[in-house]
Amino acid sequence: MDETGIPAYDRVVDERGSRCPKPIISLARMASADPAARILLLADDAAADTDVPAWCGFRSRMLSWVGPAPDGHGRAYLVVPLDPEPSPLLS
């Protein structure tokens, strides 16, 4: 955890200013490119609060932390793989 209070992450997807469903599509794109990454999604779309956890349910991910974005604009969602080493048979 750094001084902003955000737990450790590997990638950042900044979709502040874009509206549903774009933040989720960008999150999915990053998750698809780097399946093991812990992704920090930054978003200010009102739908993200419900749609990020709902997407996690679709793609075996977990929303492990939610809080204000590091610079105070919008919110940050930390999305991590459910299983740290996903089996290729289940993907």
Partner: protein
Amino acid sequence: MRQASPKNSVEPPGGFLDAASGQPLRPTARAALDAALDHGWADPARRYHDARRARLLLDAARESVAARIGARPDEVSFTASGTQAVHLGVAGLVRGRVRTGDRIAATAVEHSSVLHAARAYGVPVIVPVDGLGRLDLEAFAGQVGSPGVALAAVQSANHEVGTRQPVAAAVDLAAEHDVPLLLDAAQSVGRDDLPGGWSVLTASAHKWGGPSGVGVLAVRTGVRWRSPSPDDPRETGRVPGFVAVPLVVAAAAALEEAESERATESARLHALVDRIRARVPEVVPDVVVLGDPIDRLPHVVTFSCLYTDGETLLDLLDAEGFAASSGSSCVADALEPSHVLAAMGALTQGNLRVSLPSGVREQDVDRFLAVLPGVVARVRATLGAEGL
């Protein structure tokens, strides 16, 4: 020479699948409206022939509606809309219980008119729901039993996802604490079995194929309800202003017809919704069908399609001749997703509500199911979301 008979009804377009917003006027209601415009135009409160005729029509309509919602005629007043009925219902109950308090226990998934009225006339206490949109009875019990609660507001069934609420249990819990319960029955009247035990019931005629411009406010005898409006003797002092007698007559005729066909029509629509609920996940990838699959309204189903937006889905469906609605944020005025979907923790993007009007043709439902996968695929392709 005899003229060709005028076309008496507008056939609802085959792709109209938004009955929960309001369905087209039933032909029988149109005929009743025509007759009532001729015979029911006068002021029913006056003392002359035409006035008495209007009064007879209004009384008959009131008796008919009262019988069908399980009320006495003198408990039923007509408003200008379902929303006005809700506003007056909430405000009057708060006013009747000023000495108790102004807290209003309302489920998180009430219609926005209920939540707005709760904020305007009191302090809302929100009762959470589960993932199906059904109120949490344990939480409800705690909140309805807390001090200062003027009323509880519970819908008969949810207008977006169709889930029926456990009204009988909620009525019992409210009664234990002498808290009156306002039942928003807008989606159930003429469609589904109505729970009893309410203190105030509200409904809206265009949901059952009556005309727009008529709502129902029923206040049970003995309930402490005080009109929030300036004094006016009309509608038992509950709704100020001249009542729209012809529209009310048409609304009553529509409800009579809806009730007479309800047993067969509800079963038919229930089965068609079953078909939609089963088929959509088979033909559309990454979709979630929401609400209770069994304990639900006969005619309403909602699902959300990942990586799509409700606005474009509605536009493409419209181009194919289908009318539906959406709880996605991009469709809302305030760019907020539906409070119902949010309270359920459901996916809000790409949301579609399909609600079947009475008499909907099976072939139109099947055509919708045939068109939907292509529509969803086109939206995903446009957004570059294929294969994610």
